[in-house]
């Protein structure tokens, strides 16, 4: 396998391999929180931060604990536990030392524990055999890609807030349809780079 430049992975995970728009991961908070640009941006920041940290953390745990002992099959459950514990810890630290950050990110952190994009990134990292730098770039890039998608969605939802929609499509219904259209648009990027 040719060694892919981490920078390529970084951009690819934003545009061609976007977590939401090409993998449809992290949909629950994507749909629930994409009502306002401001909150979407805050959640996006929190997701990016947690993704960057947990990807690296899980990289070390996978390669230095699970692989040497032959427990690769436990990665699903181990990754989830690590993510949950990490988010808890970050919440405590932010609450204690970064008061202002706590007010913008604080309430979103517990939400992130159950964001499947976070687990998804850690698992893709092991499946695609990324090295440390590639994993880090992939983590940050996926976070930014997720942020881009949710902020774009919040912008679109703001525009259509007063639009007349069929009753059954209001809220999550129309959001899913718009996500599909956005995904089609982002499909245009595919083929530029290949990271898997």
């Amino acid at each position: 396998m040719i060694e892919i430049n981490p920078l390529v992975i970084f951009f690819a995970s934003i545009f061609t391999n976007n977590m939401i728009l090409s993998n449809f991961l992290g949909m629950c908070s994507f749909i629930a929180v994409s009502n306002e640009i401001k909150t979407s941006l805050s959640l996006g920041q929190a997701v990016t931060f947690v993704l960057a940290c947990t990807t690296v953390l899980n990289y070390f745990i996978y390669h230095y604990i699970l692989v040497p002992w032959g427990y690769e099959y436990l990665r699903f459950i181990v990754f989830i536990i690590v993510i949950a514990a990490f988010v808890q810890l970050v919440e405590m630290i932010i609450e204690r030392y970064f008061e202002t950050l706590y007010f913008s990110l604080g309430i979103f952190l517990p939400l992130i524990t159950v964001n499947c994009a976070i687990l998804g990134v850690s698992l893709f990292m092991t499946i695609r055999d990324y090295n440390l730098f590639q994993s880090f770039a992939f983590g940050i890039g996926s976070g930014l890609g997720w942020t881009l998608a949710i902020v774009a969605m919040a912008g679109i939802r703001k525009k259509i807030r007063n639009a007349k929609l069929p009753k059954g499509l209001e809220g999550p219904g129309i959001t899913l349809i718009i996500t599909g259209i956005m995904a089609l648009a982002f499909l245009g990027f595919s083929g530029i780079v290949q990271i898997q």
Partner: protein
């Protein structure tokens, strides 16, 4: 490797990783989330030393100060409001839904969301200091209508409850089959405050209600029941004005407490009780009310049914309490009103009373939600 040893090793690995992380987290909880001992000053008069990092509500409970709370600190009922004068920090996003902008200016906060991180000064109503937790024993549970139960609870020997006629208590509904959380729910006291050894409650069945289902289906005579109280600013006022009492459904309970209090203390104020219900069956405890009518010389009971059926053989008033008030209440001057029941009833009765000349300050009410 056999399957069995694989399973054993898997469990061992997962538990050790989880254990390590849990250990690290509890270590972090002891160090990072430990804010040390903080001073909590209530109403400029009482000082407590509390552990920082805890929520204000749980710290207050530890100090035996009971703030009303129906959801148990989840931030979903909005009852546990206190005024924070100093040391509360910025209002949290989880509080915004329950604290209005006007209240925010006064420093009102939800005590279950607010954590104590520095020395704090708060203001709470003085009455809350008399709120205590009691372990009652159920003396009896009677069915007064198919949907309303009458409970009498007695205190252990040597304990007493002090309350004012019209106030309410919260009962703790424990976990039971089909309900996996403990909840507090508020019910008005129906007994006389002069009887300090026991309390009586009327609890109507609410469909899928956690506490009402517990009382109706699981609670048995002789069982223990945890009660916190008394609460509420709706209670008997010591004036000489004529009283206008209005209630529907189980809203009759606090009115009954007020009437029993008047009987037991020999108060002979003029009072009229407008009691509304749907059908004759819903007019519960009429014997007790009629007995009170005999014992209180200046007390008059007027009832009405909004949906009398054939079986009711009802010859009395038809309609709602609002119709009764329009018909029987002539002049509101020097009168004082006590309303109890659904918010809809209270919101429609208040304008009528005001149009009859009762000033808003003399209309007291307790909305059952």
């Amino acid at each position: 490797m056999t399957t069995l040893s694989t399973i054993a090793i898997t469990i061992l690995v997962i538990s050790s990783i989880t254990g390590t992380l849990a250990f690290l987290l509890s270590l972090a909880n002891k160090t990072i989330a430990n804010y040390g001992e903080k001073k909590l000053t209530i109403n400029e008069s009482k000082d407590f030393v509390v552990d920082g990092g805890e929520t204000l509500l749980s710290s207050l409970v530890d100090q035996k100060v009971f703030i009303p709370s129906a959801c148990g600190g989840k931030g979903s009922c909005g009852y546990c409001k206190v005024t924070v004068i100093e040391g509360g920090g910025q209002i949290l996003p989880t509080e915004l839904g329950y604290v209005s902008p006007a209240e925010q200016k006064q420093g009102v906060r939800l005590s279950c969301q607010l954590k104590i991180k520095e020395d704090m000064k708060i203001q709470i109503p003085e009455e809350l200091f008399s709120v205590k937790q009691f372990d009652y024993r159920v003396e009896f549970i009677n069915e007064v209508t198919p949907t309303i139960k009458h409970l009498r609870l007695t205190l252990p020997i040597g304990e007493e409850i002090q309350f004012k006629a019209g106030q309410y208590v919260q009962i703790l509904a424990p976990k039971y089959k089909g309900n996996d959380e403990e909840v507090y729910r508020a019910y008005s006291l129906a007994s006389s405050p002069l009887d300090k050894k026991a309390i009586e409650l009327y609890i109507g069945l609410v469909k899928n209600g956690i506490a009402t289902t517990f009382v109706h289906d699981y609670l048995k005579p002789g069982a223990k029941l945890t009660v916190v109280g008394p609460y509420g600013d709706f209670f008997y006022q010591d004036t000489n004005r004529e009283m206008v009492l209005v209630a529907i459904g189980t809203g009759m309970a606090p009115i009954m407490s007020i009437l029993k209090f008047m009987r037991d203390s020999g108060i002979q104020r003029k009072a009229t009780f407008y009691f509304g219900a749907r059908t004759r069956e819903d007019l519960f405890e009429m014997e007790t009310l009629e007995q009170l009518e005999k014992e209180l010389p200046n007390f008059k009971l007027i009832t009405c049914l909004s949906r009398p059926t054939e079986q009711c053989q009802w010859t009395g008033e038809k309609g709602r309490v609002t119709d009764l008030l329009e018909k029987f209440l002539d002049d509101g001057a020097n009168k004082e009103a006590y309303l109890c029941g659904s918010p809809v009833m209270i919101d429609s009765v208040i304008p009528i009373l005001m149009s009859k000349g009762i000033p808003e300050s003399q209309i007291l009410y307790d909305k059952f939600e």
